[in-house]
Symmetry: C2
Subunit: 357 residues, 2 copies
């Protein structure tokens, strides 16, 4: 930044979860942040909870447009028309990038997408550290100046994000397979099961943990999805077609008795899934433990207390139920270097524990 630390000023448009978290994160590193929302109730709440310093922009160095995807192009172009400074940087946070990059040619705009979210929505879910360790995609174009890119990159690093630069079309293609198509699959599977369950209510008794895992995202707020799916429809339909081809090959293999094909497909999926990095930045440094537990109050506390006493941080936790049974297995991800220490302590406490990998 060419401006001094004390004079850094940002304006955030749209005070939902991401917008208000950006405001908090910038304020935490010394920025003065103004913010606006179409809903004045939200503006007032953001002021009262000190998420923003004021609602009126004050000659900002940075403007973050955090509106729904569909509104970004219009908001950004209107804004750029009203901003006279040549060194202002305008960015957005929408989950689809191609149509936005195509719709804004002003070199002061550099589009982005933080891969962060929360189970909580809106201002209520906002927190200053939402972007710590998160992947923040920037999609520079031929118009983007190195200074603009370098400045925005530096600001995002400062609030803890890992910045990745890819083209808007690559971004859209990748999120189609990593996020948008999975959402459609989860929804379709849930709707199909729901149809079957109308005739056979017992189906729901047969739906085990795997089914619950696969349909979990379908329970989320459906209102944001049509916008994202339509903005990215080319990449989504392509990814759907690719997936359909795979499912069709499996179907044919089942019909034709091609056991080898089904086996090798499931085998390669198992290998790939086990290699999928966990959420920790460096998944090789994690150890995965399986601990048999009963469903009594206190069992979970005993395991987690053991971790706490040894200063072992649990990076991930999951209960893998004996499907519908009264007990299950606790899956834990911990720092691999602490494995022996922690396993010995769990053993001492009478738990049966196995290291997975």
């Amino acid at each position: 930044m060419t401006t001094s630390l004390s004079s850094r000023r940002a304006h955030v448009i749209g005070l939902g979860l991401i917008g208000s978290s950006v405001a908090l994160a910038l304020r935490a590193v010394g920025w003065t942040v103004t913010g606006a929302d179409l809903d004045t109730t939200i503006e007032r709440a953001a002021l009262e909870s000190r998420v923003i310093d004021a609602t009126q922009p004050r000659d900002p160095d940075l403007v973050v447009v955090a509106t729904p995807a569909r509104a970004v192009v219009e908001v950004v172009n209107a804004l750029l028309g009203s901003l006279e400074r040549s060194d202002v940087i305008v960015t957005d946070v929408a989950g689809v990038k191609g149509s936005i990059v195509d719709g804004v040619t002003d070199p002061r705009f550099l589009a982005g997408h933080p891969m962060a979210g929360s189970e909580l929505r809106g201002l209520a879910g906002a927190r200053a550290n939402l972007f710590e360790g998160c992947t923040w995609v920037l999609t520079p174009t031929a118009n983007t100046s190195p200074v603009t890119y370098g400045t925005l990159h530096g600001i995002l690093r400062e609030i803890g994000a890992n910045v990745v630069a890819i083209s808007a079309s690559d971004h859209d293609r990748l999120v189609a397979i990593a996020s948008h198509v999975p959402h459609l699959l989860a929804g379709s599977l849930m709707n199909e099961a729901s149809r079957v369950a109308e005739q056979d209510a017992v189906l729901l008794q047969l739906a085990a943990g795997g089914f619950r895992d696969m349909t979990r995202v379908a329970a989320g707020d459906p209102s944001i999805w049509p916008d994202i799916l339509f903005e990215n429809r080319l990449a989504v339909t392509q990814a759907l077609d690719d997936l359909e081809t795979r499912l069709h090959s499996l179907r044919d293999a089942l019909v034709n008795g091609d056991r080898e094909m089904v086996s090798s497909s499931l085998q390669s999926a198992a290998i790939a899934r086990r290699q999928l990095p966990g959420r920790a930045l460096n998944s090789e440094s994690l150890a995965y433990l399986r601990v048999k537990v009963s469903d009594q109050p206190g069992v979970l506390a005993s395991v987690t207390m053991a971790a706490s006493e040894l200063l072992v941080n649990i990076y991930d936790i999951e209960i893998a139920h004996g499907i519908e049974g009264a007990a299950g297995t606790l899956l834990l991800a911990i720092d691999a270097r602490q494995t022996d220490l922690f396993m010995e302590e769990l053993d001492r406490r009478g738990f049966q524990v196995v290291r997975e990998r």
Copy 2:
């Protein structure tokens, strides 16, 4: 049972996870249990760990065939030929029922499928309470006598299972959509993402929690699946076709700009998923809480200790990460009657907690 309690004798063929758990469960309620496995090392281990009383059958009242699905018909028919008693009951535990019911006409056989499993495999995962609260499907046919059904039902109730009777073809159709097709979907999605990631390694950085949830089952042991999928291929291909039709309608709606169709599909999936019963038998009695947590050692212990001290049992736990961030939300399912008590305690400990429903 017409035999007295002291003389109840069972024989278990196949001492994997389910077979050895059946042995332990029956022994726990007073049965004498013999057991056999093709692998004599496993037989010896089962004897040594007192999972079975002996390896040679002793005029059993009940025989449980717990071999892989493909072997069941042959094993059961050979066995029935060698058993002279007319009141012996033979059952199996395979995940597919149609081909088995078709292959065995002897009225002394009644097929079954316990919807139980474990993250651990084989004898190592065996436990006497594996079936407590689990759904155990029985698939009676026109050949099945009420006495046979009633006796087996009573035994399974005794080891804690909830017995459900449905036809073999209904069973196969329902597990196709609840379990087999989800497995193929998870595998295909993982393989497709893996293909894309070979060209763009950054994809894995964009794969968030939803993707991990949807592909988790693909990481399981792939060796048992071809057997199950081929035994159930008619129902699986039908369910795949039904799902494909749904995905295709969504694809067409995206191409044709039919926002209403996409919205209503996602909306109905969200409603259905939220109504999906949890693993507890009576999900209405559970409350779902979201607790914001940091990734420091001790945070999880603090939450679970609070539960333990108040004798609040945590039925389900999950960390919903801020995708790749350093903090996240803990999702907890507890007894709804304890909600206020527990929320007050968490609040007292400085946690931000929200009740979901």
